[in-house]
Symmetry: C2
Subunit: 487 residues, 2 copies
C-alpha cells in the first residue's frame, strides 16, 4: 500500500528543474500503472532525503500533482495516488507488431533521399563548428525573446495564440513586414500580397508547387541551396542548372523555354556573389523576354555589416514578375520556422490555399511573439549586435585563412556569415570533412550544392555563425593541416 521510497529515482539525463523532474517521475509512475490508485507516497521528508534534494522541492512537486488531481492528501496521513488520477490503459497494448504490409507496393510516392536527413544534430558538440544556418546562443537576445513570448502568452493575446486561423495569418506580423521590413528592401506590398510561411523552406516549396509542373522548366543557379534543388527534383519539373560567375547568375545563359528562374541576387548561395545593378536589370529584361517569373530568395540580407545591402531585385520589378522569399531563420533562429512570401495577389492566393491544405497556418503564438520582437525594436538591436559579432569573427577568420594559406573562392562584399572555399584540385572536400570530424571540426563539403553535370569536389563552405571567435584560428589551422596531409 505504501510505495517504497526506493522505487523513486531521478534519471541522470533528465531535463527541467528538479521540481519538474520529480513531478514527471511521479506522473509517469501513475500513468504507467506502477503506482496504483490509493497507494501512499513517501513523506516529503523521506523522498527529499532519498533523492538528495530539499524538502520544499518535493513539497511543491506534490502540491502541483495535488492540483492536477494526480494525488490526493489526507491531512497528516500524507499523500496518496488520487482516485481521480488518470488510469493506465485497461487494454494491454500489443507487445509487437509484425509488419505484414508490402510497403514497396503500398507507398504511392517516395520522398526520402532529398538531402535533408542525416544532418548532424549534434553540431553544437563540436569544438570547431564551422556549420552554417544554426543559432548561436551567445549572439541571440534570449531575454527579450522570452519577454515577447511571455507577452504573446497573455490574456490579451489568447485568441491569436489559440484560435484556428484556417488559412489566414496574424495581421500584426503581416503589418510589420509590410511597413518595416519590406521597405528596407525597397519593396512595396499590400497585406494580400504576403503569405507567412514555415520558413524559407516552406516558401520555396509552396512556390514550386504553384508554379511548376512536369512540363515546365526551372532555372537554378549552380551551385545553389541544396534544399531548393531537393524541392525542385521532387516537383519533377525540368531543371536547367546555370553556372554562376563572380557576379552571380548570368542572364544570357538562361535558356529560352524557361518558366521560372530561382535566384539569390543579393548574396548568392553558396558563393556569396552580389549581383550588380546592371545585371539585375538585364535579368529582369531576360525574364520579361521569356515571359518567365523570377523567385528571389533574399536570405540573410540583414547581415550586411560591411556595406549596406543593395535593394532587392523585387524593388526594380514594376510588373509583378518577381516573387520574393524572406526568412527569419538567420536574424532570429531557424527553429522558429518563420518566413514569408511576397508576390502578386493571384499567386499568393493559390499559395495560401495550398498552405491551408497542407498545414492550415503557422502557429499563432510563434507569429505574435515575432510581431512583438520586431515592433518593440529588439529585432534591430539583434541585427546590430549580431552584425558586430559576425564582423569580428569574419575579420579573425580572414586573417586565419590568409595565414594558413587557404583559398577563398567567394567571400561576399557586404557581409554574410560564411566563406565559400576552394581546396586544391586533388582534395575531395567530402573526405576532408569526414577526416576532420574526428578532430572535432565540422563544416559542409560543397558537393551537395552542385547540380550540373560537372560537380566539382574541392569546394567547401566555412561559416562563422556558430563558432566562437576564440576558436576560429585553431579550427582553420586544423583544416589547413588536413588539406596538406591529403594533397
Amino acid at each position: 500500500m505504501a510505495l517504497p521510497v526506493e522505487t523513486f529515482f531521478l534519471r541522470p539525463d533528465a531535463q527541467g528543474t528538479l521540481q519538474q523532474q520529480i513531478q514527471q517521475m511521479i506522473a509517469q509512475g501513475i500513468l504507467s500503472g506502477r503506482f496504483q490508485r490509493g497507494e501512499k507516497l513517501p513523506s516529503t521528508r523521506k523522498l527529499a532525503a532519498h533523492l538528495g534534494v530539499s524538502r520544499i522541492t518535493v513539497t511543491i512537486a506534490y502540491t502541483e500533482l495535488l492540483a492536477n488531481d494526480y494525488l490526493s492528501s489526507r491531512g497528516r496521513s500524507g499523500y496518496f495516488v488520487s482516485d481521480n488520477a488518470p488510469a493506465p490503459p485497461a487494454f494491454a497494448p500489443m507487445a509487437k507488431v509484425d509488419d505484414a504490409i508490402d510497403w514497396s507496393r503500398a507507398i504511392g510516392q517516395r520522398f526520402s533521399g532529398n538531402g535533408l536527413s542525416g544532418k548532424a544534430q549534434d553540431w553544437a558538440s563540436y569544438r570547431y563548428p564551422f556549420i552554417y544556418g544554426q543559432a548561436d546562443p551567445t549572439l541571440f537576445d534570449h531575454a527579450n525573446w522570452r519577454l515577447c513570448a511571455v507577452q504573446a502568452l497573455g490574456q490579451r493575446d489568447f485568441t491569436s495564440m489559440t484560435t484556428d486561423y484556417y488559412d489566414q495569418d496574424d495581421p500584426q506580423l503581416i503589418e510589420f513586414i509590410v511597413r518595416n521590413i519590406l521597405p528596407r528592401r525597397g519593396v512595396s506590398a499590400r497585406p494580400d500580397q504576403i503569405l507567412i510561411t514555415l520558413g524559407a523552406q516552406n516558401a520555396l516549396w509552396l512556390t514550386a508547387q504553384v508554379l511548376l509542373t512536369q512540363r515546365r522548366r526551372a532555372v537554378l543557379e549552380d551551385p545553389c541551396y541544396p534544399a531548393l534543388s531537393g524541392i525542385l527534383s521532387q516537383s519533377r519539373c525540368h531543371i536547367t542548372p546555370v553556372r554562376v560567375d563572380q557576379d552571380g547568375l548570368p542572364p544570357e545563359a538562361i535558356p529560352p523555354d524557361t518558366d521560372v528562374i530561382f535566384t539569390t541576387p543579393s548574396h548568392q548561395c553558396p558563393t556569396n556573389a552580389t549581383m550588380p545593378m546592371d545585371r539585375r536589370r538585364a535579368l529582369l529584361a531576360r525574364a520579361r523576354a521569356l515571359e518567365a517569373l523570377i523567385v528571389e530568395d533574399d536570405y540573410e540580407f540583414e547581415m550586411s555589416f560591411l556595406k549596406p545591402a543593395s535593394p532587392a531585385l523585387k524593388s526594380l520589378d514594376d510588373e509583378g514578375r518577381v516573387i520574393y522569399v524572406g526568412s527569419f531563420s538567420k536574424s532570429l533562429f531557424p527553429g522558429l520556422r518563420l518566413g514569408y512570401l511576397v508576390g502578386s495577389e493571384p499567386f499568393i492566393r493559390e499559395a495560401r490555399a495550398l498552405r491551408a491544405s497542407v498545414l492550415r497556418h503557422p502557429p499563432g503564438h510563434i507569429q505574435r511573439t515575432a510581431a512583438y520582437f520586431l515592433s518593440l525594436g529588439h529585432y534591430d538591436a539583434q541585427i546590430r549586435r549580431m552584425g558586430l559579432a559576425l564582423h569580428e569573427r569574419r575579420r579573425i577568420m580572414e586573417g586565419a585563412l590568409e595565414q594558413h594559406g587557404l583559398r577563398v573562392s567567394g567571400r561576399g562584399a557586404y557581409g554574410g556569415s560564411s566563406f565559400w572555399m576552394r581546396a586544391p584540385e586533388s582534395v575531395d572536400s567530402a573526405q576532408l570533412a569526414e577526416n576532420l570530424r574526428a578532430r572535432d571540426v565540422l563544416f559542409e563539403p560543397g558537393h551537395a550544392f552542385f547540380i550540373g553535370d560537372e560537380k566539382a569536389k574541392n569546394y567547401y563552405r566555412l561559416a562563422y555563425s556558430s563558432i566562437p571567435a576564440a576558436r576560429i584560428n585553431e579550427g582553420v589551422g586544423l583544416i589547413a593541416q588536413e588539406i596538406d596531409r591529403l594533397r
Copy 2:
C-alpha cells in the same frame, strides 16, 4: 529639432500594454523616417501628460528604446533619436506595381476553392457560437500552459527551441506520446514509427501524398470531415464515398479496388457514431482481403466523459495495416498546430522526408512546451476539467433540444463536443445558418460534409465546445424558431 508632443498619439485599437504601445509608436516613427536621427523627443513628463498615462510608463518605454539603441540620452538634456537607430530605407519603394503577368497562364497548379477559406474569423463575437473546433478561453488551463511555455523558453531548452532540427522531432514529445498517450488507445509504437505534424490537417495531407496517386482509390466516409475531402480532391486520386450508418462505416460497402480507407471509428465525423468492436474486426478483415491500408483519424478521443473511449482500431492491428492520426487541437487548442502520425517505419520514413521538404519540422518551442504540459500532468487535468464542463453543457443542450423539438441525428455514445442534427426535409440548413447569423447564432450547415451524389441539405452540426452554458438554451430556442419560420 524637437519633436512636438502633438505628433505622438496612441491608436485606439492598439494591442499590448501601454508601455509597449508607446514603445511601438516611437519605434514606428523612427523606422518610417518621421523621426530623424538627432531629433529630440518630448520629456517623459510632457509626453505622459499629453497621452494621459503615468510618467513611469513613458520612462520605461524610453529606457527600453535606449537599450535597443533607438534612442540616446544626453543626461539632463533629454532623449534623442539615436545616431545608431535603424535608418529608414534609402531607396523609395515603388508606389504602385502594375501587374503585367498573365497569372492564368503562369500558375501551374490551382489550389484555391478547397473549402478552408472564408471561414468565420470572428466566431468569438457571436453571442451563440455553436461552432466546432475552436478554443474556449474559459476552459483552457492558460496559467499552466504559460508556465510550461516559459519553461521551454529557458536556458536549458534553448537548443530545442532554436535549433534547426532538419527532419527530426523533439525527442521529449515523442517519448510522451509513445509512453503515455498511445497506450491509452491500446497502441504500442516505437519512436521511429511516430511523426510529429502541424495538426491533423498536416498528418492527413502527408498521408494522402505518400499513399495516393492518380491511379489509386480512396474510400471516404460520407458524410466526412470536409478538410479531408479537400485534401483528397487535390491529390486527384479516385474517391469512393461510402455512406455511413448508425454504426459508422460499413465494411461490406467498400469496393474491391480500394487502396486506402479513411475512417473515424471511435467517433465518426460528423455523425458521432461509434464503430462497434465486431465491425472493427470486420473492417480490418475487409482491408486485409483487399490488401488496402486504413487511415484512422482518432480525433477527440480525450473527450470521453460519458463512458471510456473504446480502444483505437489500431490496437487490433497486428500487421501494420492501420495508420493512426492524432491531434492536440481539441484537447489543447487548434492554434497550436500539433498532431502526430503513427505507422510502420517505411511509411513514416517517407512521410518524414516529405515533411522535411515542405516545412522541415514543427517549431521546437511548440513541441517542447507541449511535452512539458503533458508530462507535468496538466494535460490530464485539462481533459478532466474540459470533460466536466462539456458534460454539463451537453446535458443542458440535450434538454434544450428536446424542449424545443429539434431532432438529433447522431449524439455520440461516449462524449464528444457536438450534435449532428437533422432539420425537417424542406429546410435548407445553409439558408437556416445564414438567416441566424443576423441573430448572432453561428453553426455549420451540413452541406460541406457530404461528398456523394446525394447531398442532403437538411443536416447541421451544433457544437458546445465554445458556447457558454448559460446561452445554450436561448440559442437553441432561436434555431427552433427559425426552423419553424422556414418550414
